[in-house]
Amino acid sequence: MKILVIIPAYNEEENIEHVVNNMIEKYPQYDYVVINDGSKDSTSDICHKNNYNIVDLPINLGLTGAFQTGLKYADLKGYDYAVQIDADGQHNPDYIADMLKKAEEGYDIVIGSRFVTEKKPWSPRMAGSRLIEMAIRITTGKKVSDPTSGMRIYNKKMIHEFAQNINYGPEPDTISFLLKQGVSVESVQVTMEERMAGKSYLSFGRSISYMMRMMIAILLINNFRKR
């Protein structure tokens, strides 16, 4: 069984070395690929210096495009499962084993969720997560406890589908759309660290427009999409 860990990285010079070294030393059973999304800092140099397996995008594409590059790579090389993790060190690869076990039970997508057995706190950050969870429940009838989690496993079928199509970002609206289309999605309890260094992508203004986009896509657009 071939498993690929996809690590999209944009300006992660402070974290990338730690994350990839950890991957290589502790989890040699998984293959990995770093997708450098046109970083302006020395992310690429660090990876080449350490001889990491890296794909350099010449221009910044954004997470959707970068992650899709990773899936195209996985599709091309015939991987059975692709794992999406962040380059900022908040995802612990320890949990990949649990998630894989679930995926092998026949689920198409397995989400590493912080809130399967744990309760979701009532913080402003989680308000957005709750709203999306509610929207997914209304339109699909299914519960996705941590829809914004960036740690997911996709099986071979999903790798191919994500690699080929437009509007298949690694985001909650795609999950919701696929759930509606009968794809099986399951969650596995994980814990996440705070990001080690650097700044988070989501500012307040960005969060608002992100939420707006997600709600419109899940509640309205997904009803009209065709697979």
Partner: protein
């Protein structure tokens, strides 16, 4: 606001929404780009259903005919949209240029490497 104008606003908004959805359905349009048009259409529909909003706003600014208020708002929104699209075009052009140059340079590097290989033998 006349009934005819209100109906027209609703019809045009609904039509543009339908066209948008069909484009997305046929995988010809990115969801991210449709959000603006969806919100725009919804706002027009709300204005058509509750013309009171426009009347009050027109009164506040001192515009006599509420229809002019609608025109003003639409023109303003579209102006902003054109402005942002212009920025996007500029960024796209820059990215394409960057890509072309990178591709050409890497091809040149490849052919140079091949030539060097030929020389050795």
């Amino acid at each position: 606001m006349s009934i005819a104008l209100r109906v027209l606003l609703i019809v045009v908004s609904v039509l543009s929404m339908i066209i948008m959805m069909r484009k997305i359905r046929n995988s010809k349009f990115q969801i991210d780009y449709s959000i603006f048009w969806i919100i725009f259409s919804v706002v027009l529909i709300i204005i058509a259903i509750f013309p009171k909003i426009v009347l009050v706003a027109a009164d506040l600014i001192g515009i006599q005919s509420p229809v002019n208020m609608i025109f003003l708002v639409i023109i303003f929104i579209l102006l902003v949209k054109v402005f942002y699209m212009n920025i996007q075009i500029s960024q796209l052009e820059y990215k394409v240029k960057e890509l072309i140059q990178k591709l050409a340079l890497s091809e040149h590097k490849d052919s140079e490497a091949e030539k060097n290989k030929d020389c050795r033998f």
